[in-house]
């Protein structure tokens, strides 16, 4: 049986590595690079005991616990930069590794199957389970590589508080978390019939795992144990170095892997376990408009993003009450943090939150525009352009949809934060302030949307660069102050020009200028799109 069902696995493994080598390389360099560069920065940021003490107080605040996981004892922070580093970086890096694994596995399993590539491979002299095994081997090697390189890298930096065992534990937590979500994705690849369904279900589990852990970490330890991400943050890495989390994650990952193999073995190629239902004979009048079509093609995506953002912002809203009490308790601490007395600490916290949430709600808006390019690559735009539809109308529909989506996303961010915050806080933040603080980010979002339109119109080969820019903006918001970037580096992020309501004053001028820039970029994109060759 072994030779029959696994024949050719070795060759296919090499083949898949070749296929994905560029993606894997970029992910590994990105992940390890950020980990190491942030780690290098930490000792100089927290040079004095005082600053560590202040930071440790911040870490104890429930909002931080919800966002980053349970912290360490206060003296741990004071004695070990490692603890500080792990608390701030571990969870989000682990999530990034999970995202990498989900995308890689989703693409190489159901994605390849949907596109008919596996059919061709299976027609060769290879076993029934060979392709699936090859994918699993690739994802295992990738994650192990990540674990080892991260471990070696961190250990070799020679930072006080980051020892060899801790460094390797840190790396392996990342690796096994990635592995778990990779093999989970392999299970979904068997259950659903589409690659979209596969990645969507996997991301949904990732998001739910994050929230269960967030609520659990703040209110009930037992709840956190349900979530794999709860295990990820419970190793006390660099201080206690508990390896059991790694073991549990690994065992569950293997379990998922076996389930995936079993399901793969008993199903027909091309089929899934969640059956597709019969569709409509006619298109609705709304679908027959170009805007309706654009919306319909991305409906599921947009709804998923709305739900995700709403849950995310309302869970932050849920913390606001605890946060308020916490801030009241530690008035003493306020001496350490720059306090602009007019505003409560909660309000200051909201400005940071809004910046991050706006960056996240930017993603669906950008994806809406990128759909135009995606459709071109799949030879779908020839369906429009061989008919009486102008290029301006198609790009315009997507642009309009992107603007609408940006507005909807920001509304749901504000709504989630405000409605739940209002329920749990004594001194709630007003409806007007919350919504204003969200909507001020719209011009910045539009600039990035305009930038994508410009890329799609003028240099369609490089539309992918927009993700680099978004990641850059995220790094500036999230780590800019921490890494002490020079001013010009911060100024490259369009989000830096947005007034942080309520702490900053409203700056209408900046918003108008940004909107104008967005318009100019959009117009450039439209002009280019009307002039260039359409590939398909």
């Amino acid at each position: 049986m072994v030779t029959r069902d696994f024949k050719g696995t070795k060759k296919l493994t090499a083949f898949i590595f070749r296929q994905q080598r560029f993606k894997i390389l970029v992910w590994l360099i990105g992940l390890i690079g950020i980990t190491l560069s942030v780690a290098t920065a930490y000792p100089s940021i927290y040079k004095e005991e005082q600053s560590r003490q202040a930071a440790s107080l911040t870490m104890e605040n429930p909002a931080m616990v919800a966002m980053l996981g349970p912290g360490y004892e206060m003296e741990d922070y004071v004695y070990s930069v490692g603890a500080m580093f792990a608390n701030e970086m571990l969870l989000f890096t682990a999530i990034a590794v999970a995202v990498m694994s989900i995308l890689l596995v989703g693409r190489a399993t159901r994605g390849d199957e949907e596109d008919g590539r596996i059919e061709m491979i299976r027609a060769l002299s290879v076993g029934r389970l060979s392709y699936a095994s090859a994918v699993m081997i690739v994802i295992v090697i990738t994650n192990i590589l990540l674990a080892i390189l991260t471990g070696i890298g961190l250990a070799s930096l020679g930072i006080e508080g980051i020892d060899l065992e801790g460094a390797f534990l840190y790396g392996f937590i990342l690796g096994v978390t990635g592995l778990l979500f990779g093999s989970l994705t392999a299970v979904f690849a068997q259950l659903t019939e589409t690659s979209r369904g596969t990645t969507m279900f996997s991301f949904m589990v990732l998001i739910i795992a994050y929230f269960i852990r967030a609520i659990g970490d703040v209110s009930s330890e037992a709840l956190s144990w349900v979530s794999p991400l709860g295990w990820t943050v419970r190793t006390g890495v660099f201080i206690d170095n508990d390896w059991w989390s790694v073991v549990i994650l690994l065992v569950v990952a293997i379990l998922f892997g076996l389930i995936a193999f079993y399901l793969h073995f008993i199903r027909d190629l091309g089929s899934g376990f969640i059956a597709a239902k019969k569709g409509k004979t006619h298109a609705s009048p709304f679908l027959q408009t170009s805007f309706g079509l654009a919306l319909r093609l991305q409906r599921t995506n947009i709804i998923a993003w709305i739900i995700g953002l709403f849950i995310l912002s309302s869970s932050f809203g849920a913390i606001l009450g605890d946060l308020e009490i916490y801030f009241a308790d530690v008035e003493l601490m306020q001496a350490f943090i720059e306090v602009e007395s007019e505003y409560t600490l909660t309000e200051q916290f909201i400005t940071l939150l809004m910046a991050i949430m706006s960056l996240i709600s930017l993603v669906p808006a950008v994806m809406v525009v990128l759909k135009v390019k995606g459709e071109e690559t799949k030879n779908l735009t020839e369906n429009y352009y061989s008919r009486a539809i102008s290029r301006t109308r198609i790009l315009g529909s997507h642009f309009f949809l992107a603007v609408v989506v940006s507005f909807i996303m920001q509304s749901f961010v504000a709504l989630g934060l405000w409605s739940v915050g209002e329920a749990v806080m004594d001194e709630a933040i007003s409806f007007g302030t919350t919504f204003t603080s969200a909507y001020v980010y719209l011009p910045a979002i539009w600039v990035v949307v305009g930038l994508v339109i410009g890329l799609v119109g003028m240099i369609p080969k490089f539309t992918g660069l927009i993700w680099l820019y978004i990641v850059y903006c995220f790094i500036v918001v999230y780590l800019g102050d921490l890494l002490d970037f020079p001013q010009w580096m911060n100024s490259l992020s369009v989000f830096e020009y947005i007034p942080q309501i309520p702490v900053d004053d409203m700056n209408i001028m900046a918003l108008v200028v940004l909107t104008l820039i967005a318009i100019v970029l959009t117009v450039i994109g439209f002009v280019g799109y009307n002039k260039r060759d359409i590939a398909g």
Partner: protein, 302 residues
């Protein structure tokens, strides 16, 4: 006025020249066969005609309008079927047909239902589940349900079964009877022979031959099989004889159309017992042109 008139169309992608001065004319009520090997430039020409890519040099007009500048206007009267139909996986076939029809501003529901029946197509399934032939049907139904003045068909029957191919040919002939024009790019030469009034052959981005099938046949050879009373000698010394073979005292060979007269006169002297002639097929024409360079080298050496 011709429906399509293209002159000196040239398209370069970087250093690669896909089209090198293509001239093309399709008249009203005419079915024009556009044939050529893979990569000869058929689809590139069609994409230029559809205004999706811009010709590097040359001009093309459809209905007297510029194909690039007035694309949207032109497309109101055009139906297009690509050889490789790509559909949105999460829409049903029925939804896509409706979409395609409204994009052109047509709403002939009766025709739609009739064609769905004719092509034996299930419109309720999601597009991702359709086979190649079924995806092709989506485009064909949408195209023929639309009352266009010009049908541009780029290898439209790839993946269709012979029954469906017949139905497709009926659709084209119906369109022709209604006075519509058709540009049909195809590899199925029997189909082109059956449907087309005129044919253009493209190779390496150049139209190398164009005209009615009869006109083109003059340029090629006729198959002859003969048996004579007396031993036929030194036939191979005559001009314009090719592939001479002897089998069971019968001779088969091909003869250049322009040498036909001389050859027949010569053979007649030997007393003809049997004479069979087969007209040159498009296949022969096609082969001769496709293998053009190789053949001419061969013949030069002989």
């Amino acid at each position: 006025m011709p429906i399509i008139e293209a002159s000196h169309l040239t398209k370069r992608f970087g250093k690669f020249t896909a089209l090198d001065g293509v001239d093309l004319e399709v008249n009203e009520g005419e079915v024009y066969g556009f044939i050529g090997p893979n990569g000869a430039g058929k689809s590139t020409t069609i994409r230029i005609l559809l205004g999706m890519i811009k010709a590097t040099e040359g001009k093309a007009r459809i209905f007297g309008k510029d194909v690039w500048a007035d694309a949207v206007d032109i497309h109101k009267r055009i139906a297009y079927v690509p050889g490789d139909v790509n559909l949105w996986p999460n829409l049903t076939g029925g939804e896509v047909i409706d979409l395609f029809m409204t994009m052109n501003g047509s709403t002939n529901q009766a025709k739609r239902e009739e064609l769905i029946k004719k092509f034996n197509f299930d419109p309720t399934k999601k597009s991702r589940t359709y086979s190649k032939g079924n995806r092709q049907k989506v485009a064909l139904i949408a195209a023929f349900a639309f009352d266009a003045d010009l049908y541009i068909l780029d290898e439209p029957t790839s993946g269709l079964d012979p029954l469906m191919e017949n139905i497709f040919q009926e659709c084209v002939l119906d369109a022709k009877r209604a006075g519509k024009s058709v540009l049909l790019s195809s590899h199925i030469l029997s189909e082109v022979e059956k449907l087309c009034d005129r044919v253009g052959i493209i190779r390496h981005g150049k139209i190398i031959e164009t005209g009615t099938l009869d006109e083109l046949r003059h340029l090629t050879r006729t198959h002859l099989t003969i048996k004579t009373k007396e031993q036929l000698t030194s036939l191979n010394k005559l001009k314009g004889i090719h592939n001479l073979e002897e089998k069971d005292s019968e001779l088969t060979f091909q003869v250049d159309t322009e040498e036909m007269d001389t050859v027949i006169r010569y053979i007649a002297e030997f007393g003809i017992l049997k004479l069979e002639s087969a007209p040159p097929t498009l296949e022969d024409l096609f082969m001769r042109h496709y293998l053009g360079t190789e053949n001419s080298k061969e013949e030069g050496a002989l």
